[in-house]
Each structure stands twice: as structure tokens, then as C-alpha cells.
Symmetry: C2
Subunit: 168 residues, 2 copies
Amino acid sequence: MDTRTDTPRDAETSPDPLRIERLCVERGLKMTGQRRLIARVLSEAVDHPDVEELYRRALALDSRVSIATVYRTVRLLEEKGILERHDFGGGRARYEATDHGHHYHLIDIDTGKVIEFSDAQHEALAKTIAERLGFVLVGHRLELFGRRPSGAEETPRRGARRRGGETA
Amino acid sequence: MDTRTDTPRDAETSPDPLRIERLCVERGLKMTGQRRLIARVLSEAVDHPDVEELYRRALALDSRVSIATVYRTVRLLEEKGILERHDFGGGRARYEATDHGHHYHLIDIDTGKVIEFSDAQHEALAKTIAERLGFVLVGHRLELFGRRPSGAEETPRRGARRRGGETA
DNA sequence: ATATGTGCAAACCGTTTGCAACACC
DNA sequence: GGTGTTGCAAACGGTTTGCACATAT
């Protein structure tokens, strides 16, 4: 197993806009107009939007959605394993499609940006540790919080929030 | 650096009941009756209680506390670096004293128990990964979710909750 | 036709806060 | 005695839900 590579995943890949909808149909979900709409927004997302943001993007395409439906849909898709919920701090849940592979997050604490990466060595290590402690690893969470070396301050932070960091 | 040891920390060590209070005084906090009380509860805790639980334990010792004060104190101590807040899922923040060393958590998804461990190899790896991605590591979070091998079912789960796992 | 999804607004739940009374230094 | 803390209850913010209506299958 290659343990020496961190693969920063460039989040530019927004394949086809029906990706998520197809997954919904596969799991036998009844496809309504608003579910199609939300599925499309999710398919096009290359970041980790929260519900409010999803709602905003959906509204921009079609005004016949309510935020309650976004909440319901997002929860449903999470239960179906189509979406993954993250808590990066800040009190709101943030979502991303599960269909683009296992990866971790590094949160830039100055800009709030999220960098995705994968690391086989860590993956193996997590499993090993669990086994050493007498467990079978079922899931794990790794998040790094970092800052670009001081010389290069880039985008200044957009504004504070109750707790934890805001992230992109 | 020794990278081959996972140290499961047995959470039986509840040293002296004034541990936290002493830290408070050191940081120049005005010690009121309720702060002393809450500090004592925290000093005696060997788990990761949420605010409600802290409040319950404090009440058992002295009824002259309100939950608002627990919230305020816990937040204050966190700002002073005396407490660490965790989000293990389930919507409520959970706390532990920072003074017993850096460690990670493995959550038993069947019983909800939290096992603490430290791992130097992981620590080094996290730093390396961040650097490889062009960041200085400021903080990180590692949580393992595991299950004891099937043969030995132990304590059955105590009951479900809205979201995420309940933990001890 | 019927079970299921939707919108609205109210309920919920953890947490924070304004204010007047109170306690520590 | 004055500044900082507490208790209460109300406010908050994200999320869920009851209900009447609408819609996919």
C-alpha cells in the first residue's frame, strides 16, 4: 500500500448535473420536482454547503421550494447514504455527496477554505490503532486545522461567527 | 519518537478534587461558590459529561447553581484553556479537562463508551500531511468509531438519540 | 386512487443573554 | 463599595414537525 502520498483533491470536478438524481432513483426514491431540483444543486456543488446555502442555490433555479423540504431531503439522502453530513464547527451541518471517494479535510483557519486530501498511511494507521485497542474499525474522522506560513496572508477572513470556524 | 505505542488511558484517575479550582486561580479567575462547585465536579469527572450532566452532578452537591451558570462557567474555562469542548455528535457539547494530556478518542458504537488513547505516530503524520499541503498544523481532530469483535457483546446500548452516538 | 411529499408556521432543543439582585475582592 | 457574577426567563438559531393541501406512481 502506498503510504507516502497525500492527494490534494481539486474540487473542480462537477460531472453531470444528474449524478445525484440517478442515485436517488436507484434507491427507489419518489422523484418530485423539488427533489430533482435539490439533487441538481447537490450534483453541481463542489464545496461543502450547509442547508441554508443549498436552499439559496435551489431558489435561484426555481422558487417553488421551501427550506423545510431542503432539510427533509438532505436528511433523507443522508439516510440513503447518498450524502455525508459534516460538522466543521459553527453549529450548522454541512453536506457533500459521498460518491466522490473517501477523503479527509484540512480546514484553513484563516480563510475558512476546506482542502480535501486522502492519505493511505493514515487510513492504515487508524485501522491498526483500533485493532490494537481490541476493536474493529467501523468509521473514523480526521480533520486538520492549519494555516498558511505567515509570509503569505491571502484572503482575509470574512467575519466571525459564534463558535468554530466558518468553512467553504 | 516512539511511533509504535497506542496508550489506552484508563480513565480511573480522579486525582485531587481541587485540581481545576487551582487552575482557575492560577489564571486569575474570581472564585465564587458556584465556580468552586463546578470546578470540583469537573475535577472529579473521569468521563466526558455534557452541560446537563455537569449541572445534575453539581446540583447533587449544592442546589444553589443554575444551568445558566454552568453554561457560562464551562465557556469561560474553555476560553482559559482549562476545558476542552468536544462534539461527538448528538448535538450537545461535551467537556473534559485539558490537563491530562493530548489524546484521541475511540468511540464504541455499540456501548457508547469512549476509550482514550494517544499515538505519537499519528501525531507526527498529521503534522507531515499538513506541511505537505503547504500548511502549518494548528490543531487536529481524530476520532475512531469501532466495535468489539462480534463474539463478545458486552453492555447493550442504552437507548437511541436523535443523531450521532451517545458516549460516556 | 392512494400513499407520499410539500409549504407554512409553530414547536423544539441546546445555548446565550438582558436585567435586577447579589457576592466577592 | 464597586465591579463582576448569578438566576430567571426570554431570546436565539438551527432543525424538526403537525397539519391541510398537492403530487407522483
